[in-house]
Symmetry: C2
Subunit: 486 residues, 2 copies
Amino acid sequence: VSVDSVEQPLILLFTGEENVDKLVQEAKKKKLDDKIIKQTSYGDLAKSIDVPQEEKYFVFSIPHGPTGDKVIEGLLPHLKKGDILIDASNEHWERTERRQAKLEPEGIHYIGMGVSGGYQSARHGPSCSPGGTPEALKKVMPFLEQFADKDKKDRPCVVPVGPGGSGHYVKMVHNGIEQAMMSIIAEVWAIMHKGLGMPYIEIADVFTAWNKDGPLNTNFLVAIGADILRTKHENGHYVLDEIRDKVVQDVDNTEGTGMWTCEEAAHLHISAPTIATAHAFRCASAGASAREKVVEAFKQNIQPPKFELDDSKEKTIQMLQDATYSSFLMSYIQGLHIIRCASDTYKWDLDCKSLMQLWRGGCIIQSDYIVALLESVFEKNNFTDDMLLTSPNIASEMTRTFPGLKRVVLKSMEYDHFVPALSASLEWYKYNCSTDLPTQFMEAELDYFGHHNYDLKTEALGTAKKGQHHYEWKPALGIREKPGAY
Amino acid sequence: VSVDSVEQPLILLFTGEENVDKLVQEAKKKKLDDKIIKQTSYGDLAKSIDVPQEEKYFVFSIPHGPTGDKVIEGLLPHLKKGDILIDASNEHWERTERRQAKLEPEGIHYIGMGVSGGYQSARHGPSCSPGGTPEALKKVMPFLEQFADKDKKDRPCVVPVGPGGSGHYVKMVHNGIEQAMMSIIAEVWAIMHKGLGMPYIEIADVFTAWNKDGPLNTNFLVAIGADILRTKHENGHYVLDEIRDKVVQDVDNTEGTGMWTCEEAAHLHISAPTIATAHAFRCASAGASAREKVVEAFKQNIQPPKFELDDSKEKTIQMLQDATYSSFLMSYIQGLHIIRCASDTYKWDLDCKSLMQLWRGGCIIQSDYIVALLESVFEKNNFTDDMLLTSPNIASEMTRTFPGLKRVVLKSMEYDHFVPALSASLEWYKYNCSTDLPTQFMEAELDYFGHHNYDLKTEALGTAKKGQHHYEWKPALGIREKPGAY
């Protein structure tokens, strides 16, 4: 945090480190020392803000895991009924719920609050997704509404998400969507630069144009992509050019949210391959040293060559935009399928429409067109049973952009460009939009060796439950006689 | 279980149901009633097999979850020190370890044993992967060696896997690999039949030929695929034709292993997109009713048309075999990366080479050529640090089959065929085999908004840890001024 960002009274909690002293010094110089108070014990800290008959509010943002438990342990003896702890870390929602279960009986409220925006958001406000008891949420909302970023209509990007760990959960899925979108924009950048031979400045102009109008307008990751492509060192070299292709924060455990989103998708049986594939891509990218050894063993370093996507430049850019947009949209939809299923499974009863406000500003996945589209869909139907893909509004956007996505993926694959998230999106689109999948053969194999039973094509469809039919494919098998044609 | 399968003395444990009475009756008729004993209480059961100074062995195979805890609770009062429980269910490895931690202090051994082979394996023996204390494993191995299937050299397909829940873990990953392989063979079947217009009998002949010689020899899923394609009802209709494209056992929670494999891959930061994508495909397939609604909204039901893969039939079949084989191999490798990482993380110290014996017979992923290849790799190096892809033996197989895989994926995608697992494998191959990935751009975006730091391209590579460099992309941002070009 920088002293410049202290715009309104903030209570900052410290337990004594060098950089804290530095901050206090800086605050003194700027006559802000009434706003920055250093405390070195939980007792002194609590005492310094305690007023009889009034609740104390605490906010902390620390690494996920046991650190939070230590903070609670330290504070607990100095708390009184009604005090509120706001955990603004990227904490796992289940840990949040365990802490709530421990503190609520003591009359202490514990709010698990997702905060999106990165370190830059300290300057303009983040997007906040708090979850906890309605009573506690009601109390902290006025404070959070000041703190949060504002959307274009000056509405704060914060809503009371729901009970329990739902606030941290929604932020977790936000980060899963973010990982997918970052893979998509990175894949598209590489196609443009390394495939189509577009100079950085030209790509930056395209990103800026996309960000101004149309389905990618006010999209944060596109916007900063343009910034990055224009950023040079003093010596005239692009900063981007010096950066290695190595994303490690999933592998070194400093970030849990992407991994947790993948775990939750699997756990809840939600098909979210764009998100899962992007995560797998990042994990492989972290092993830069291992990849060097693979390249040696394979006697091959895949460095995709230049190619042309289409004759007209305008159409090429249009197809790239369609591919980016439709894959972004699918990342959002897959994430929302996870949230909706979690809301049912964990009995949170979330209002999907209101959640859209979280993603209008401040956050990394900010994408005004997509959010408006989804909001219009939730306005008609909260989609408690169905996939979002069954909405005609979404269907028309998807079918319109499908040819561009398909062409970009095909051409990129032809020239060995890397399109894990784009191709996973394409496949997800296709198989959701068919009643004639190859899984028919899979079902037969499962019934063959596992007596799994199947449904007949001629039967009416109900909910997803086990089929009623079995065929005894190898009825005459005797002892030690094996199935199969060998 | 069928009475015909009782080949050697087996102790079968029941707690009294109709089908048990039926089985006992049948056994009586076949003069096998000394081998089938019905018991209706845990006490009677334990007493009936109790011999002073000798340990009792129990085997059970039940649905995963709380049922196992009930069985243990029921048996525990009737057990003595040294008794061994073998849990042959598809239990989650962590639940297995919790039970071991509870029982071992009482002197009771608990072995978590994966069993693969499906119901058909009751007749020729399954593949067994037991995990537990060395002492207990040593005692049960002679029994398991009789029970298990035998490989071509008549060696039993069972090895003492390792401590704790490692036996159930290895079976869990087996099932993850199985899901990936089933997706691959199903995708290839659909390309052959619906794309290339090959009649079932012709595909069956191709599968049989593949299963006889070459890299897909003695491959169970290919073998039963041929059987399925030859199986007709009495009226001459193919059984396969009546089966709906709906695989539900991941969604209805009757199978946990595939989902757990995806969770573990994410948790351990292993890039396993073939496995994860196949799982996502199955989950989407289960929602057959939702897919019908999507088709309606999209006004489009994707039913891929016929196409030609290449001029010569022989070359076409060769490319399909290359695609199938290389994707199978990648499924195995991804699964083994998970196992190897788990072995390190959970301190199991597994011997990967010995595990190969589990997959030589009995199990669903049986694939003699692939297993022999992997065994030869493990003979040289147990790969505790590196990816299997760094082995020259594997590299030469992969580079040889890459053009076929690529061509099959490209052509299939061009005609909107479904290739989620094949295309995920292709992408995984490519990005592991490059030191010039689009994740360079992702890393720049993360540093922009999150101060994530990066490594320079010019720096020597070490282990996967956070980079040392940060660029202040938007240093002049004031309060409420937003990043980006809008």
